[in-house]
Symmetry: C2
Subunit: 147 residues, 2 copies
């Protein structure tokens, strides 16, 4: 058995934040961690039809809320449509393409200094997130081709 990539112990992660281990939570958290991307509640629900055909939509929402409250995943509200969720790994931010609506991660080398502002207004910062809107590479190329 090769251990190049260490499989995360999902039940252990759930226990560590005080959540009961259920097949539904295990499967949903596993899916979010395995797939690197962003996904909506509905996408998760539809994906789970294979392995958990009795899974209820409300369980998906309840689970996403529990995982989110526990800090294991992050909810991204961006553009139109449904909230997206991703595994809360290294701090990262998001770019959304206003043409194709696709969402891209990005990582900041130098983080903006928010401490000054926070001190001025006595705001206790828990987290911050940068949303960038623009046009992705593929859509830029497409626009040039059309022109």
């Amino acid at each position: 058995m090769d251990h190049d990539i260490k499989e995360p112990d999902i039940p252990e992660i759930l226990k560590s934040v005080g959540l009961r281990v259920t097949p539904q939570r295990d499967a949903i958290l596993r899916h979010i961690i395995d797939r690197k991307g962003h996904m909506s509640a509905d996408q998760i629900y539809r994906f789970m039809q294979g392995s958990l055909p009795n899974l209820s939509v409300s369980t998906v929402y309840n689970t996403l809320k529990s995982l989110s409250d526990a800090g294991l995943i992050r909810e991204i509200k961006f553009g139109d449509g449904a909230s997206l969720f991703d595994a809360n790994r290294e701090p990262h931010h998001h770019m959304v393409c206003t043409v194709c609506k696709e969402l891209f991660d990005f990582y900041l080398l130098a983080t903006p200094d928010l401490t000054q502002i926070a001190q001025q207004v006595h705001f206790h910062i828990e987290e911050y997130h940068i949303q960038v809107k623009g046009i992705c590479d593929a859509c830029q190329r497409r626009m040039i081709d059309v022109k």
Copy 2:
């Protein structure tokens, strides 16, 4: 007549972005510019009952979309509930208090350098917005008092 504060010429602003001047658009844009804060479509709708009792909810949404597309106002999706809108003045960002849910503006002195990342991934940045979550001054005090 004192001209200390120059009144914005709303019809002129609308024309300048190619929008027809209607009483509804005039009133809505005026309200958003006059009031400095953030407001939801529903808040605008209810406020307008006095001056435009026949105003329809869909007109509020249509108008907000037109104004937003034209870059005159900005839509803020943050936390739960409805989108908020504000006049798109100097670039600024937002802090939301996770306790009282209130939204605060803040202005960055040094803007984060996103150009490097944009160049790397060939993303054409149109705008960016920093969302900060945390606890506001008032709520921090309240928590200390209770303790």
